[in-house]
């Protein structure tokens, strides 16, 4: 039966998806099929809205897959994709290792403390992301605070070279994305029924076994959400590697920047973006399918 209220409820998220994802993606896809040119904007063919059908036909006849062929012919792009995915995977692992204990401690603390702790996790968002990453330059530099502290305390004799290496990139990423890992895990742990742990212990589990067999599996949705929230933006990360990383740090965000700015080749830049999206979306869809099937099997 037609229900306007229900239609409205569905319409809101779908129009969001349509206007903020599909339309921009369509534009990027269109540019990725065109050719670079010296004009404003710097690609051809361009759509002339007054030309009617003829213009649309002309637009489509100008499309080709040349840019995607170009990507496949140069191993630079694959190396950059792989290196980005690798950096993102390591970052996910590191944020999980650091973030889970934080979320766990927060969830186990007394109830009057929780809002304060939650606030402390969110607090860094009140300062610009750029300034926070920039601050790490001052901390990690060869004359930076960290090296000064280590030299002063006698741990090292020569300043450590951290800035402009992949180490600095990992430190920056873990620092920046930690809240995205902590918050979803905390949300699942907070709702965890304490009776379950008691029951496990009554049935002979040690505390660690109870944690491993009860707490961790029950917080799985939070862990998965946190991992995606960290993994997806880190793959395309540009600011952190360009500020903290060295020239050797190869990431797809940087390649995209080069295509767009140094080569002023918007079509190839768009093709890089389209492939990046496919690389991210296909495994995520497959993963969700598999999850759904597992859930159905359980029921």
């Amino acid at each position: 039966m037609f229900n306007p209220r229900r239609l409205f409820l569905i319409l809101v998220p779908y129009s969001w998806l349509f206007f903020l994802f599909l339309v921009p993606f369509g534009i990027v896809l269109k540019i990725s099929l065109s050719d670079a040119a010296l004009s404003i904007p710097p690609y051809t063919p361009q759509f002339d809205p007054e030309g009617g059908w003829a213009a649309i036909r002309e637009l489509f006849s100008g499309f080709d897959l040349e840019n995607f062929i170009w990507l496949s012919e140069d191993n630079l792009y694959w190396k950059a994709y792989l290196s980005s995915v690798w950096i993102a995977l390591v970052s996910v692992l590191l944020t999980l290792l650091v973030g889970y204990p934080i979320a766990y401690a927060m969830a186990r603390s007394s109830e009057e403390w929780r809002p304060t702790l939650l606030m402390l996790v969110i607090l860094p968002f009140w300062t610009s992301f750029l300034i926070r990453v920039y601050a790490w330059i001052g901390i990690l530099g060869s004359n930076g605070y960290l090296n000064q502290l280590l030299l002063w305390s006698g741990v090292i004799d020569e300043p450590l070279v951290i800035l402009n290496t992949n180490w600095a990139v990992y430190i920056g990423i873990v620092y920046t994305y930690l809240p995205f890992m902590v918050l979803p895990i905390y949300a699942t742990l907070e709702k965890l029924d304490g009776d379950l742990l008691e029951a496990a212990e009554d049935l002979g589990c040690s505390r660690f076994q109870a944690f491993w067999l009860v707490t961790v599996p029950l917080s799985r949705p939070g862990i998965i959400a946190g991992c995606f929230l960290v993994f997806i933006p880190v793959v395309g990360e540009f600011v952190i590697p360009s500020l903290l990383g060295g020239s050797k740090t190869l990431m797809i965000g940087k390649i995209l920047w080069d295509e767009f700015f140094s080569n002023r080749d918007w079509p190839v830049a768009s093709a890089v973006a389209v492939v990046l999206l496919l690389i991210l979306i296909i495994p995520i869809i497959l993963f969700q399918r598999q999850q759904q099937r597992a859930q159905e099997a359980e029921q």
């Binding site: 404003i40 904007p41 630079l76 020239s247 140094s262 080569n263």
Partner: protein, 364 residues
């Protein structure tokens, strides 16, 4: 409920309108970082009543991408000559109405003749500053490492792996601009620095790959501070930026002495041009700004502050001796003869050079 919201909305709109100041006329300027004496902007505002919104960039590529995307919102932009020539072809600028520039007579003919290569008839831009790309170094550190006969006046200092290996410990920065570095390598090899031939361009790659492990960073603006505070001891960069580093070190009185040298092999002579985008929101104000900059005393104040030479003949009598008398800024005739200029790459060559640059920097 509905009435209440509409009341709140009305109140909010009313307070917003009250908070907005009377619309002042604005001119939006997009210039290179560390490239003007900010007092000049205050002076312009006081003289004309036009508010200056001033933004900065540190690479021609960023400016070009904004220009080619269109609707930058800027009234005055400052591309280098090579980049400007193809931006003119793309239709990015409007012609300058010289009848609105009462100070146009101050332009230095010699410089105008050179910039006409990029902008025939100088129809789209006026020269702001010009300079060279060369070697900035920490005098004592380099002497300490390479001895008294360190080749500070030669490109061998930065392109010879033996020298770079020794300098690596104290830190070397290169500009992250292949259009500046690749021509220098070609010149060092005795090739045409303006070559568009892929085989010739490719000759730069092994030279740069050999010194690459000893370059701490490729970056186009960080080296000013890095030289001044002793983080690095050599930078292959722009003349005025290095002289600003010299000045900052002297001001900080930290015992660091920075010098700039134009390599004896020759150096890239470049020109930064002030131009008005085709879709500038306020071209009237843009012309006023250009005319203000063309004023001999204002132009001299800018050069005295940023240590770059300018294309304004009349300004020279107001330049301090530190600037007009320094051959690193206003090179003597023999040096000028040894300088070269480049023209812009076409798309294919540009892609080839960028790809080579990525390979040199990342090893892949």
């Amino acid at each position: 409920m509905k009435r209440k919201t509409s009341h709140i909305l009305a109140a909010a709109i009313a307070s917003m309108t009250l908070a907005l100041p009377a619309l002042a006329e604005e001119v939006k300027v997009y210039n290179w970082s560390d490239y003007i004496d900010e007092e000049l902007l205050t002076k312009f505002e006081a003289e004309t009543g036009i508010k200056v919104i001033y933004d900065v960039f540190d690479s021609n590529e960023v400016l070009e991408t904004k220009l080619l995307a269109g609707s930058t919102g800027y009234d005055v932009v400052v591309p280098s000559g090579t980049f400007m020539s193809r931006q003119i072809q793309a239709g990015a600028f409007q012609k300058i109405d010289k009848s609105k520039l009462s100070n146009f007579g101050n332009v230095w003919d010699d410089i105008a003749a050179r910039t006409a290569v990029y902008d025939p008839g100088n129809e789209y831009g006026i020269n702001y500053m010009w300079g060279t790309t060369g070697i900035g170094y920490n005098v004592n550190k380099v002497k300490e490492i390479l001895g008294d006969d360190a080749p500070v006046n030669s490109l061998a200092l930065v392109f010879e792996p033996g020298n770079m290996e020794k300098l690596a410990a104290c830190g070397v920065h290169f500009l992250d601009a292949p259009t500046e570095i690749v021509p220098a390598v070609l010149r060092y090899l005795g090739e045409d620095p303006d070559s568009k031939d892929k085989d010739v361009l490719a000759k730069a790659q092994p030279i740069l790959e050999a010194v690459r492990p000893h370059v701490r960073k490729f970056h186009s603006s960080e080296y000013i501070n890095a030289l001044a505070n002793g983080e690095i001891c050599v930078a292959f960069g722009w003349s005025g930026d290095i002289l600003q580093a010299r000045d900052r070190a002297a001001e900080a009185d930290n015992g660091i002495e920075i010098a700039y040298s134009i390599p004896s092999e020759g150096s890239l002579l470049w020109f930064d041009m002030m131009a008005i985008p085709v879709d500038a929101p306020n071209p009237e104000a843009a012309h006023k700004f250009l005319n203000f900059i063309l004023d001999a005393q204002n132009m001299a104040a800018a050069s005295n502050y940023v240590y770059y030479a300018n294309g304004n003949k009349a300004s020279q009598e107001f330049l301090v001796e530190d600037v007009i008398g320094d051959t690193a800024i206003y090179p003597d005739e023999a040096t000028v003869k040894n300088l070269y200029s480049t023209t812009s790459y076409d798309l294919k060559t540009q892609k080839f050079v960028t790809r080579m640059w990525t390979k040199i920097k990342t090893g892949s």
